[in-house]
């Protein structure tokens, strides 16, 4: 089947019901997307399907065909940070950092939909993403900073 990921077409030979997460990680080597729970409870595997934040552990590969898939590798890179990543860096959000790919993907989708979220909107959008290290105060600050960065253009 063909999957369009970060603007590039990939051909993969996998079962229809292989979760997109494992296609990304084990078949294509896109390991920025993380496995944490496998049951949509932690958000570490969050990617965008046609711009919508989605738990890739719950999406069959076959169902992702025909969508525009964006992973953390497609969000930006060390030399070309997007607003969300720049905010994450400035606020020094990460501890272990394992959840932060998913956190940033979730935040990017939130800000695309709602450029100036208040605390209740941030709570609602971000509470599906677990951080076991407890970086939540910094995540909150980074989402707000990213919103400001995007306003400033």
């Amino acid at each position: 089947m063909h999957l369009r990921i970060n603007g590039t077409q990939h051909e993969v030979d996998v079962e229809d019901d292989m979760p997109l997460l494992w296609v990304l990680r084990d078949e294509l080597g896109l390991t920025g997307t993380k496995y944490g729970c496998g049951i949509a409870q932690c958000g570490a595997c969050t990617v965008h399907l046609d711009g919508v934040a989605t738990r890739s552990c719950q999406v069959w590969a076959a169902d992702a065909v025909g969508t525009e898939i964006t992973t953390i590798e497609g969000l930006g890179a060390p030399g070309a940070l997007t607003a969300v990543q720049a905010a994450w860096l400035t606020e020094q959000v990460a501890q272990c950092g394992y959840c932060q790919s998913g956190q940033m993907m979730q935040a990017a989708a939130l800000l695309a939909e709602n450029p100036q979220p208040g605390d209740p909107e941030i709570d609602e959008a971000m509470s599906g993403n677990l951080c076991r290290c407890g970086t939540y105060p910094r995540i909150r600050a980074a989402v707000q900073r990213a919103a400001r960065l995007m306003q400033e253009g």
């Binding site: 996998v14 079962e15 292989m18 979760p19 494992w22 990680r25 084990d26 078949e27 080597g29 390991t31 920025g32 997307t33 993380k34 496995y35 944490g36 729970c37 496998g38 049951i39 409870q41 932690c42 570490a44 992973t71 953390i72 590798e73 930006g76 890179a77 060390p78 940070l81 990543q85 720049a86 994450w88 860096l89 020094q92 959000v93 990460a94 501890q95 272990c96 950092g97 394992y98 932060q100 790919s101 940033m104 941030i122 709570d123 609602e124 971000m126 509470s127 599906g128 993403n129 677990l130 951080c131 076991r132 290290c133 407890g134 970086t135 939540y136 105060p137 910094r138 995540i139 909150r140």
Partner: protein, 744 residues
């Protein structure tokens, strides 16, 4: 001077270990060729066990493991402080397992707390290292010891390397050493000419390392105490940080395990016919206590594991949770007494003379559950083995792989990888043993073993279950007597048993965070009771203090309330340690403390001294229509010296959240010998919507440099319990609190 005193004391304690292990402590002997585990490649130089200079870059060895606490960053900063390199010029490398990287601070802690002192001194005098010293003094990351252990060692290494470089340039250029300066990885000559360290790599390989270089005064520091960008922050802000689970080795296969869900139980029989017919599945092999499933894709291995039918054997511990509690209830007996490290005044007389207040407290088992499931890559060849994994115990891994394979430990290479969290979970190495057993059955093929979340959580050697019983009295509006008994199984005994080690003597963790608290209650007694081993348990962030900080503060709160006193004022009045007093004063000032509140809003306060660090917290809660909301936490902690204030704040906030989340929402309970919680749906911890504002202040009044990974955790639960009491009148004596009320 205070720090020198500390070093002298510790040097004394670990003196002969230092000799046996080839590690000098205090003024660190940074280079003796037979001790340095690093070997220089062509054209590069190894200056001390911590600094490698090559033509293409500078590598700093950061042997304490990074599980997210910023250990690599902090260690690199300490070397850089004296070496004069910028943090973006260096590459951190955890280095190989080696005696050169023994954790002498942890060894000192072990000597102080785990073994009767006289015995240790005797053994040391004889040059015979006890098994505990052997175990605890190894290359272990834990006990919040990374900064205390490395604060001087790494700066000495940096200073020696710098002066060695200057000596070479001095000789080569004919310039006095005193006329050379160093900055940003370069030597600067009086005429302004700059020579990068890397240009000197080949010549440095042949020079003698300069020893015993005095350390710079704090006024000269460029890094320590300043906000820095953590060296891993860019990678972790872009999804480009690789963890163990992301590692790849040529030719590797993907594996998972199906273990007896009843931790430690055996396997009687299995049928893998269906699994073996599934796409991508290469093998199903028996290992100790279960099966290894080998495939070409992690998910295919996970799915095949679910298709195997197994007959499991029963575990060795009581299968039902009620039996675990009953075992603890029965452990408060003289026969089970493990320690009585505090017995001030005349507790029995005081209790006989007053109205005795009694209470009982409980704390459940808890999984560590770092977000990255444990994993390891192991390749076993005929005469050597190689391991890639995130670990806090590389030397144990080396020994265990050697034992399982029969390959000499020197031929077992361990590559320590970045960890997606630990909280103590990576002090265990079952995943490496399992991967090794699988790899033994397919020699020459690297086996990458990744556990599913469920396998990981079901076999997450949890935090100890614990109970406490209080008897106390008050008099004249003050706390008069506190008699606290604490019962739990021994974490150390359980944990060390998996490394084929015993833990002689009392287990200080049974009373840690309770017996040594800085409160001068006139009649005070803390007794530890050692319950029989139940479910296998392990060190969980702050270990004994994680339960005992709650017990002690909750008990103190009940007595203070009975006395009609204010919980913060009475703690200040009782406080016997000037450093702890200032921590309490700090949270009082930060929070604008004026009492516990009431009418729906309440405040609680707690202070626990653990790992040498007094940490106080004030928490405020408000009842709203959806439940109780935690609004604010004010935290202060005394660590002597803060290396990086940004990382410090982050770790304190994280410790508070880890403490709150588990106190509110988490437990592990057993039914039929199996943990009833196997994923984050039933074991959620804290989510962002429940996360309060957390204001942090670090104090630097003390003369000991201490770590901050664990101390913020113990006061969180009791400060929350105090706030709940103030807001609702409910006195919660058992965690998790969500059993008794709803949090917003």
């Amino acid at each position: 001077m205070g720090r020198l005193k500390t070093i002298a004391r510790r040097s004394f304690l670990v003196g002969s270990v230092a000799v046996v292990g080839g590690v000098a402590f205090g003024i660190y002997t940074v280079r003796k060729p037979h001790e340095n585990p690093l070997t220089a490649g062509a054209g590069e130089a190894v200056l001390t066990p911590y600094v490698r200079i090559a033509q293409d870059g500078i590598t700093l060895i950061t042997p304490r493991a990074d599980s997210g606490q910023g250990a690599y960053h902090v260690q690199a900063a300490l070397i850089a402080e004296e070496l004069d390199v910028d943090l973006d010029q260096i590459t951190p490398d955890p280095g190989p397992p080696s005696p050169a990287y023994w954790n002498t601070a942890l060894a000192a802690e072990a000597a102080e707390f785990m073994v009767p002192a006289a015995g240790v001194m005797h053994d040391m005098a004889e040059g015979a290292v006890t098994s505990v010293m052997k175990v605890m003094g190894l290359q272990i990351t834990g006990g919040s010891t990374t900064v205390p252990d490395q604060f001087d060692k790494l700066r000495h290494a940096g200073a020696s390397a710098r002066e060695t470089i200057k000596a070479l340039v001095s000789k080569r250029e004919g310039v006095a050493i005193g006329d050379l300066t160093t900055r940003a990885g370069k030597v600067i000559l009086p005429d302004g000419q700059e020579i990068p360290y890397t240009d000197l790599a080949a010549d440095l390989a042949d020079v003698e390392v300069v020893q015993d270089v005095p350390l710079r005064e704090p006024s000269q520091w460029r890094y320590i105490g300043q906000p820095m960008q953590r060296i891993d922050m860019l990678a972790k802000s872009t999804g480009t940080q690789d963890y163990g689970i992301d590692a790849a080795v040529d030719g590797m296969v993907q594996a998972t395990v199906l273990m007896n869900p009843a931790q430690g139980g055996g396997m009687a029989d299995y049928d893998a016919t269906e699994a073996l017919s599934m796409r991508g599945v290469q093998a199903v092999v028996p290992i100790t206590g279960g099966l290894g499933i080998v495939a070409d894709n992690t998910w295919r291995a996970f799915r095949a594991a679910q298709a195997i039918t197994v007959t499991w054997e029963a575990p060795s511990f009581p299968p039902e949770q009620a039996d675990h509690w009953a075992t603890l209830e029965a452990a408060f007996t003289p026969d089970a007494q493990d320690s009585r490290k505090r017995d001030d005044g005349d507790v029995d007389t005081a209790l006989a003379e007053g109205d005795v207040l009694t209470a009982e407290y409980r704390a459940p088992y808890l999984a560590h559950a770092p977000l990255e499931p444990v994993n390891a890559i192991v390749r076993v060849d005929d005469d050597r083995a190689e391991v890639w994994t995130g670990t806090q115990i590389p030397r144990f891994i080396q020994a265990n792989v050697s034992r399982i394979t029969g390959i000499p430990a020197d031929n077992v290479t361990v590559h320590a990888l970045m960890m997606g969290g630990s909280f103590g979970h990576r002090l265990e190495d079952e995943v490496v043993k399992q991967a090794t057993e699988i790899a033994m059955q397919m020699k020459g093929t690297p086996v990458k073993l990744a556990l599913s979340r469920e396998e990981d959580m079901l076999h997450d050697f949890p935090r100890q279950i614990a109970m406490a019983r209080l008897r106390g009295t008050v008099a004249n509006g003050q706390v008069a007597a506190l008699d606290l008994g604490i019962a739990m199984p021994s974490v150390m005994a359980s944990q060390l048993s998996r490394q084929n080690q015993s833990a002689p003597g009392p287990d200080s963790q049974i009373v840690a965070g309770a017996w040594d608290q800085p409160f001068a209650i006139p009649h005070q007694r803390v007794t530890g009771y050692r319950a029989p081993e139940l479910a296998p348990i392990s060190s969980w962030r702050s270990v004994g203090a994680s339960t005992n900080g709650f017990f002690y503060n909750a008990a103190l709160d009940e007595l203070i309330d009975a006395a009609g006193a204010d919980p913060l004022e009475e703690r200040l009045r009782l406080c016997s340690d000037p450093l702890a007093r200032r921590v309490l004063e700090a949270v009082a000032e930060m929070s604008g403390w004026s009492g516990i509140g009431g009418n729906g809003t309440g405040r609680g306060v707690a202070l626990t001294k653990s790992f040498g660090v007094p940490c106080a917290q004030v928490i405020e809660v408000t009842g709203i229509d959806t439940g109780l909301r935690i609004d604010d936490v004010w935290v202060a902690a005394e660590v002597g010296r803060i290396v990086d204030p940004v990382n410090f704040e982050n770790l304190v906030q994280g410790g508070v959240i880890y403490g709150l989340g588990h106190a509110m929402n988490s437990q592990i309970t057993y039914a039929g010998g199996v943990a009833e919680q196997s994923n984050f749906d039933s074991n959620p911890g804290l989510r962002l919507s429940q996360s309060p504002r957390i204001m942090v202040r670090g104090l630097e009044n003390g003369d000991r440099v201490l770590g901050i990974g664990e101390p913020p955790l113990p006061p969180a639960a009791p400060a929350l319990a105090g706030a709940i009491w103030a807001a609702t009148g409910m006195r919660l004596r058992e965690m998790p609190f969500s059993k008794f009320l709803t949090f917003a």
